[in-house]
Every structure is written in C-alpha cells, then in structure tokens.
C-alpha cells in the first residue's frame, strides 16, 4: 500500500489514487502522418521497467488531479512527484 504525496493534498494512501500507466506519452500532433506501426506504438506499446519508472497517477478519490510519479518498481521507492507537463527529473538509474 503505497503512500503517495498528492501535489495538491499531501500524503495520502494508495487507495485514494488510480494509476494511469506510463507517463510522458505525448499524443502525436498529426496522427494521419504516422504509419500503422508508429501509431500502434503510441496507442499500445508501454514500457515494463524493472526499476525506475515514470508513471501517471490521479488523485481520483480526492482532488481529481493528475500528476506524475517516478517510482522504483522493485522497491516501490517514490523518487519524485511532479506536475503533468514538467520534464522527467534527473534521477540515478
């Protein structure tokens, strides 16, 4: 049961959140210019990291806001929490 710190509400238990999968996936600006493979990569392909993973979470049973989390998927250590739209923080692998 993770302890996540919502940027707006503070420390809350994982039960209040929903994980939205990998972060930093940007919707292509001109989808019609992509071939099937490139579009399929955007829609379907996700990283499955053992270790450092950047992911989206939403405080769904709280303020409802999305934010980004850098988490170690082995130790569940939360390495960073930052706003949607911010760059990935520099973190040791």
């Amino acid at each position: 049961m993770l302890l996540l710190s919502c940027p707006w509400c503070g420390d809350r238990s994982e039960q209040e959140f929903a994980c939205g999968g990998e972060a930093h996936i940007v919707r292509p600006l001109a989808p019609e210019d992509l071939d099937d493979r490139a579009w399929g990569d955007y829609v379907f392909m996700r990283r499955n990291e053992k270790g450092l993973h950047f992911e989206r979470w939403r405080h769904v049973h709280g303020c409802g806001r999305w934010f980004n989390v850098a988490r170690n998927t082995v130790t569940h250590e939360i390495l960073a929490i930052y706003q949607v739209g911010d760059d990935r923080p520099e973190l040791p692998e």
Partner: protein, 1005 residues
C-alpha cells in the same frame, strides 16, 4: 482424569478466585481467569487434543503461543463457530465450548489413523503420484482426500457478530510487548511521539510472563506493570493487547487484527468481535521475539513431547505442570532454567540430555543441588509410547551427528519430553516488508538483513537473547525511531533498567535431525501440522528437488495454517544436508501475509449485505416501488425492469409496456443517464476532439447524438449532448459509463490539452428525467404546457427548450429535449431532482386518458432494438468500431478526433469484420440466448468456425415474433442468407436481415 490434576497449588498469573467452566468435546471442565484453553486442558490432564492432518496420529499440545501446530480446535457453536483456532491463543472464559477436529468418529478412536499404518502409501508428493491418473477420477479422489485429510469445518449459518475496520497513523508502531518492545515503546513515548504498541497476547510482558527473571531488583513482571501503567496514562500512546500484526506492506502500511471480544462469551452491545486495523507508521520497531524449534527425532509428535520454553510458560504463567516425570533434550542453554523450574514445581526431572560435548558450566551447581542428572554428549534417539509418551531412548551420536554410536543406548521412563532445538527469530513481518534474511551458521538461524523500509528489529527477533541487551537495545531503538519520526526528547537519553546477571551463553550445536536407531524407529516430524517428516524431505531431495520453494510445494512443508513457524528452519537444514550444500544455498521461502490467519469476516468488516456497495435510487424510486416495479441493478443504480400487475407474468408485462409505447403513451424514468455539465470558451472545440462527429456547427438550442472512441478506435460511449449556450453544453452518457466518461474527459483536459479552457462537472444526480414516449406524447405534454407551442415546426426533433409548465404540472420549469430512444415521438423532460416526483405524478395523472403506461428497462431495450438503436456494452464489447455497427456516417472525415487514426489501421479496415445485422429465426417463437455463437452449417458438432455472436435477443409484440441483433462477419453483405445460431448442442436456423425491424414513420414527427 479427575479435575485439575495438573494444576499447581500456587503461582502463575491465573486468578484462583475466579473459576471458569468450559466444555471440550462435550466434557465439562474447569479453569481459571487468566488461562488459555490450552493451559486449562493441560491442567485437566488432557493430553490428546487432535489428530494429525495426513496420518491421523494422536497429537497433544507442544507450544504455549501462536506457533502451536497441533492444538487446533473448533471454537464456539452455530453461526459463531470458528475452525482451526489454536487452543494456545484462546483466552478462557466462562461457558466456552470447543471441540477437537479431524477425527472420526471420536478423538480417542479414529478410523483415519489407519493412514498411519498405511503410511508407506503416503510418501512426499503422494497426491501428485497417486492421484494423477486418470484425470477423470479427480473429483472422486478429491472428495476422499478432503474428508480424510482436512482441518476443521466452517460454520454453515450466518455469523451474528459484527466486525469493523479502523485506520490509524502513528510515529512509531511497536510490534510485540516483551521486554524489548516495552522498552522501545517507553523510550518513544517519552519523546512525545505518537506510539502504538500491539501484542498478540492478552497480557503485555512477552517472555517475561513465562520465566522468572528480575529487573531493577524486582520480579520482571512488576517492571512490566509499571511501564504499562505509564504508557496507559499517556495521551500519545495507544495500547492494543490481543492484537496480532498480520501484514507488513509497502511504505510502512501494516494490518493488524484486534480480537476485541474473542475472550468473551459473546460481544457486548455494540461491540465488534474483531477489528481490522490499517496502520500507516512513520517508523516501525519489530520486537516479535523468537520461536523455539523442536528437535527432529523418531516419534517426536507423541502427546507429552513439548517445547521446553512452552513448558516453562505453563508452569510459571499458568500454574500448570504438564507432566510428572520429565526428560529435557537440548542443543543450547535454553533447557536449563526450564529444568530448574520443573523441579521447583514438583516434577521429577529424570535427566537433562545435552547433545553438546561441552555442556554449560553455569547451571551445574543448581542441577546438582536438585539432584538432576546431566547427560552431556547424549541425544534422545526416539520416543516410546503411542497415545502418550511413556519413555525415551537415549544414546550417543558420532561427531558429525549423523549416526548413533552403538552400545551406549539407554531407556528412561518419563511422561514429558521437553525439546529445545534452538531459537528462530520471528522475522515473518520483516520478510514481508521486503527485507532479505541473512543466515547465521553459528547460531543456526536467520538474522535481519538490510532493511528496505523504516523499520528496526530488536530483542530476540534480532537474536539478542539476553535480557539486559533486550532492554538496552529496545530503548535505543524506540528513541531512535521517534527521532527519525521527528520527535526528540530534550536532555537525557532513554532510561535503561537493569536486569539480573545471567550466566554466560555456551554456543548451541545446530543439529537438524537426530539419526534414528534404524529399522522402524518411527517417523521423525519436521512439520507437525502438515505431517511432513525428515524422510519426506530427504525423498524430495533424492527425487531431484533443489530449490526450497519446490521442496515446499512437493512435500507441503510449511504450508499449514502456521506457515511452518516451527518447521521451516529444521526443514532447510535437513534439505541442505541431504543435498550436501549450505543452508543459504537452499535459500528460504518467502513469507507472505497474513502472519496469522485472518477470518473473512474481519476482512469484510461492515461491508456485507446491503452495505457491500452503495445503492443509488432515482428521485422517483418511491413511486416505482409503490407501483409494483421489479428492479434491476444497473451499475449501482436500481432501475425499474418492468411493472407487472398483480397476477401478470413478467413477459406479459414487458409486452404490454412495449405495445403501449408504440400505440399510445409510455413513461420511463431516465434519471440514471449520466449527465455532465461542460462549460468554457473552448467547450465546442473540446467536444469536437472527443466525439467522432462535428460539434462546432450545432446551434444553441440543438441536440446531437455523439459517439466516443478510445484511442484504439473502438466505441467507448454514446449519448445525446445538447448546446445550452455558446460556451455551455449538457452531455449525457450511458448509465454505467457516467464516471468513466467524466474521467476520460478530465484526463485529456488535464494532461494533453491544458490550453483548452473547459470545465466538466457531473450533474447526474441534480436532474430528474422523465421520458415521455409514444404517439400521444405531444398531446399530453400540450395539456401540461398550455402556453407553449409544441408543434413539430416550433419544437422540432433534436432540439430542446426551457418550458414553463402549466398549473397541472405544478408550474415547474423544465428543460425538455425532443429526443428519444424508442423511435417514437418522445420528450425527455428534465427538472431539478427534487421536483421529479411532482413531475412524474402530474404526467401519470394527466396521462390517464391515454392509458399512459410506465415502462421499465426491458421494454426500453425491446423498443430501441426494434428500430435498430445500438446499446453500448451490448452491441459493443471494446472491439467494435462505428463502421462495424453501420454508423460510418457518424465519423467525420474533415476533423481530427480521439481514435480516428485507428479507424484507418489495416485491421480496422479489413474485409470480413463482424458487422451489425438483424436475425430472424425460422421459428418466429424461438428466442435465442444473447451471446450464442453464429455458425454456417446446420450441424453444431465441434469443431466449428465462429462467425460472430448474438448481441441482443427479444420477443416483440409489435412484430408478433422474436428477433435478434448480432455481429456477423461480413454481415452487411450476407442479408437474406441463412446462418445458424449454436447453443446447447443445437443449431437454430435464422435469416440475416438489416438491423432495423420497424419504422414508426410519420407518427414520430
């Protein structure tokens, strides 16, 4: 047995003035306040408490705490009965009823014990070997296995008691209230930290309750009482006795089970039986102690073989003497003080047998004074006696400990054998917390590795066995934990009490199994609860098992309800020896929650029955109830399915409602439709990106049907959205998707399109909606709105108006949408939720002359299917595109929207995708089941190539026959063909048609 034959006349922590009566296997017995069921049974001379799992061997109590493998009983009766409860953890109360398990017909005479005689047939992995073939026989084998090799039986009636859950937060959670835990809790408390101290026992003190040690010159138990008083008086401390920590999860989230009322005849008024705690602790101190291991030797499971420390606890804490003539067998110093306590309690101690060549010197004087024989460099080779110990065979082992030196064997009579095979720190919780364990070959046990969470391990759990170390290190850990949680005590460090001087420890001699005398010496048990012997483990090693995880699953060692608390280390040692490798090379199994069994009732807490999930009711629910509605759950909503009249069959009621809408007038409660208020200067642009069709051209006052896709191009939801103003829309969603659609909208606004100025607000419950449908809909509405022009010209299809209704409708102001889901002339009348019942009543009263008929979801489904309207979740299943449903015209070519690119992927454009069609069975009375597969031929025998499936299937009184919708491969090109609907081994012929069966035509204008 006559009364409490084994009760000492004085001593112990029982209250001899409070006598308690209880029943075990229908026999009435007596104990005292402060007893456990186990101590009371021993006091009454009960040695046989159960039959073992596989061999049905007679078993007695071995332990005094939660590690007890044998003494599992069924506690209480009726709906309160609970199987597999450890007698050592049952606090005795007046009127307690318990019975033994896994025996038939009786504990003394058990037919299953034949398994023991037939035991060559039950080697390790016998389930796998014996019952593998033929597979068809499994159900029969399983029935036999379950009857013969099982544990207790669960209650079959409902549990009348209440269970609850509670959340808690603290700076420091201390697990275990022995000397280390008490010292830690006290030190943390004195910093002002918020402290929770939990202990599974009814009394704090841990090992101090059962041994006679001294602290600060007084009996240790007086020190315990002093600390407990200080902690109990502190506002920053919560004391939880009878509370076992069962799970240690990520980020210091722990789960504890508090047995609130298990020590009472029944819970008091308003009191739960158990309470499940979920704790988030900034820091954790584990003071969980250590478990004494048995020694593995022939027939070491006979009633009368017990752990040495357990025996000490029975004497000192409960005033019970578990035998009359004892032999102690040890590989460490632990048995020596027990021998002295036994002698002081009047038990004849025949010998202390120490497998070490050099027995500790410090105890000799006391042994000599009490006339106890010390047999160093000797071992108990086996136990004599069947239903109880009658003696032991003693001999000498060679230096390697793997063979008996011949000629030195000797028999000693006794009725009690106390075993001390060394101590295993209780590290289950630490292992659950993700900390690896390190093997210590010298002490023969695992020690805590580097912790990954904010946790400290102290006392015997850290293999610190001397009381002074426990007190010092416990206080240090409690203080440091509080400091790390941001609490600091000014000035002094933690107070450290002084324990009496203890004799220096002589190192133990790790020995995993005692070699037998050969030839039929008897089974040497490693795991008593799962009936796994040393030979079973060696067999597994011979058969090629190398990893302990595999050995565990093959032999079932450590898989009982005690998770092998007393078995695991011995099992590792035996497997390592058999494989000729070190213990770390064999590895250790992973501990998983729960540490101690947790009843489902506690996990469910209050969320049972009607409280399992919230129920949502519409404003008009009361009317529906009063008028005979039969409800169906749609998500959390309760919707009227139909309104059968007295004596009317359900199918007839649905037919009647369906007909009424087509011929005159029907009224449906549509309040459950999801409603989202969408506002902002970019609202139209936003909808344009969300829906497949265009929205910028929709005029204020207009309504439009929209389809939403996922990025994979598959239909996600549909509904009508109306434009309330230039920057203001009212979106409707399907009932079940209201929340997912809002989440979907929010995710795009927040993460991908923050430049759009749009705000979405759920208003599902703010509006009551009555859908008035049928040829007479306009006539009735006109009567209710006399000042309003409702003509087709003034109020055309797919528009909405704010209407001031007349007196008959209580002057309500309504938002009326001229839209519908039945194909008939329809008005969806929206009023603020509180006005719903008034609106509904007015419509029903005024509609009487048109025989207005309330209709439910089933009639609505028939009506929409008759005119070919799809239903998301019925005609779609997450693999359906708009074109598959013939809704290609809904897809804009001109603009970009979510999922558009996926509609042009190779797979979504291929020929032969399932397409929506109608199906008419050759037999017009035959209604096929939804979900039935479509096949080409009339022979249903497998193998078959599936061509699609039925998505909706109804009887239509308007058509005078049944009809169905289906997704059929290449279906649009197959109209007029015959296909077959396969189910229940039959193939029903049907003709493929278009998906629209009926056209209301001009009457809907």
């Amino acid at each position: 047995m006559s009364g409490e034959s084994n009760r000492l006349t004085d001593g112990g922590r029982i209250d001899r003035t409070r006598r308690l009566s209880f029943r075990f296997d229908n026999k009435t017995m007596y104990g005292y306040q402060g007893d456990t069921l186990a101590s009371a049974l021993l006091a009454n001379g009960v040695r046989l408490v159960g039959r073992s799992f596989k061999y049905h061997r007679p078993r007695g109590l071995m332990a005094a705490g939660g590690e007890e493998p044998n003494g599992l009983v069924r506690l209480r009766q009726g709906g309160r009965a609970e199987p597999n409860v450890r007698a050592t953890e049952i606090i005795l109360y007046d009127g307690l009823v318990a019975e033994s398990q896994n025996r038939w017909p009786s504990l003394e005479f058990d037919l299953g014990a034949l398994n023991d005689r037939l035991s060559p047939l039950f080697p390790a992995g016998f389930y796998y070997k014996t019952f593998m073939w033929p597979a068809s026989m499994w159900p029969r084998y399983e029935a036999v296995i379950r009857r013969m090799a099982g544990l207790g039986k669960a209650a079959t009636s409902a549990d009348p008691d209440r269970y609850e859950k509670q959340y808690a937060h603290c700076d420091v959670l201390v697990v275990g209230a022995g000397p280390s835990g008490l010292a830690a809790a006290l030190a943390a408390k004195r910093t002002g930290a918020r402290v929770i101290l939990a202990d599974e026992g009814a009394e704090f003190g841990g090992a101090l309750l059962g041994n006679g040690q001294q602290i600060d010159g007084r009996p240790a138990i007086a020190w315990v009482a002093g600390i407990e008083a200080e902690l109990a008086g502190a506002e920053n401390v919560r004391l939880l006795p009878r509370t076992v920590v069962t799970g240690y999860y990520d980020h210091n989230a722990l789960v504890m089970l508090e047995r609130v009322a298990d020590h009472l005849l029944q819970p008091g008024p308003g009191q739960p039986r158990q309470r499940l705690w979920q704790v988030r602790a900034k820091q954790v101190v584990l003071a969980t102690g250590a478990l004494e291991r048995p020694l593995v030797l022939a027939n070491n499971d006979r009633p009368g073989v017990m752990g040495a420390a357990a025996v000490q606890t029975y004497i000192n804490r409960y005033g019970v003497r578990p035998g009359r003539r004892a032999v102690l067998f040890t590989n460490n110093d632990g048995a020596y003080p027990v021998a002295l306590d036994l002698a002081r309690a009047g038990v004849a101690v025949a010998a202390v047998v120490d497998v070490r060549a050099r027995a500790p010197i410090g105890w000799r004087g006391d042994l000599d004074r009490l006339g106890i024989e010390l047999m160093a460099d000797r071992a108990v080779l086996g136990v004599v006696g069947r239903k109880a110990v009658t003696g032991v065979q003693i001999g000498k082992l060679n230096e390697a400990g793997n063979a008996v030196v011949p000629g030195l064997s000797r028999h000693i009579d006794c009725d009690l054998l106390c075993l001390s095979g060394g101590w295993s720190p209780t590290l289950h919780l630490l292992s659950q917390a993700g900390t690896s364990l390190q093997w210590d070959a010298r002490q023969g046990c695992f020690l805590p590795g580097k912790a990954r969470q904010a946790v400290r391990v102290v006392g015997a759990a850290n293999a610190d066995f001397r009381l002074q170390d426990c007190l010092n290190l416990g206080a240090d850990a409690g203080n440091a934990a509080a400091n790390d949680a941001g609490r600091r005590r000014r000035g002094r460090g933690p107070h450290k009490p002084l324990a009496d001087v203890e004799p220096a420890l002589t190192p133990p001699r790790p020995i995993w199994s005692i070699p037998g005398t050969g030839k039929g010496g008897g089974k040497a048990f490693v795991d008593f609860q799962s009936d796994v012997t040393a030979d079973d483990l060696r067999l597994a090693a011979r058969e090629g098992y190398r990893s302990i995880e595999h050995v565990k699953r093959y032999t079932t060692v450590g898989m009982g309800t005690d998770q092998g608390r007393t078995a695991n280390i011995n099992a590792l040692g035996i497997v390592a020896e058999a494989l000729d490798v070190t213990v770390p090379q064999v590895g250790h199994t992973t501990f998983r929650p729960p540490f101690s069994p947790v009843a489902f009732g506690a996990l469910a807490g209050g969320q049972t029955g009607p409280l399992l999930d919230p129920v949502r009711r519409t404003p008009m629910h009361g009317w529906h109830q009063d008028h005979g509605a039969v409800f169906e759950p749609v998500g959390q909503w309760l919707r009227p399915y139909s309104y059968p009249k007295a004596g009317e069959a359900m199918a007839a009621a649905v037919d009647r409602e369906t007909l009424a809408v087509r011929t005159s007038l029907g009224l449906m409660d549509a309040s459950t439709l999801g409603k989202i208020d969408i506002r902002g200067p970019d609202a139209a642009e936003f909808l344009n990106r969300i829906y497949t069709n265009g929205w910028k051209g929709l005029a204020v006052g207009g309504c439009r049907y929209g389809l939403m896709l996922g990025e994979d191009g598959m239909i996600f939801d549909d509904g009508v959205t109306v434009r309330l103003g230039e920057d203001h829309f009212h979106m409707t969603t399907t009932t079940g998707n209201a929340a997912p659609v809002l989440d979907w909208l929010e995710s795009w606004l927040q993460t991908e399109w923050p430049e759009l100025s749009v705000y979405c607000t759920s208003c599902t419950e703010q509006w009551a909606v009555a859908a008035l449908c049928g040829p007479n809909a306009r006539r009735l509405l006109a009567e209710l709105c006399p000042d309003w022009d409702l003509s087709a010209e003034a109020f055309p299809h797919m528009t909405w108006q704010t209407v001031a209704m007349g007196e008959v409708a209580a002057g309500l102001e309504a938002r009326i949408f001229r839209i519908g889901f039945t194909g008939e002339l329809s008005f969806e009348i929206n009023v603020p939720a509180g006005h719903g019942p008034a609106l509904w009543a007015a419509l029903m009263a005024a509609g009487e002359k048109y025989a207005i008929t309330p209709f439910g979801t089933e009639a609505m489904h028939v009506l929409r299917a008759e005119v070919g309207f799809i239903m998301v979740g019925q005609e779609t299943d997450g693999t359906t595109t708009p074109d598959d449903l013939g809704l290609g015209r809904m897809v804009s070519r001109k603009k970009e929207f979510l999922g558009k690119r996926s509609l042009f992927r190779r797979d979504t454009m291929r020929q032969g995708r399932p397409q929506l069609v109608g199906l008419l069975t050759d037999d017009p009375g035959h209604r096929v089941p939804e979900g039935a597969q479509l096949i080409a031929g009339a022979d249903p025998a497998p193998p078959q190539r599936g061509l699609g499936h039925v998505t909706s299937s109804y009887h239509s009184p308007n058509l005078g026959r049944t009809f169905a919708l289906a997704l059929l491969q290449g279906g649009r090109a197959r109209q007029g063909e015959t296909i077959h609907i396969a189910y229940d081994g039959r193939a029903v012929p049907a003709t493929v048609t278009g998906p629209r069966f009926l056209d209301p035509g001009a009457r809907a204008k």
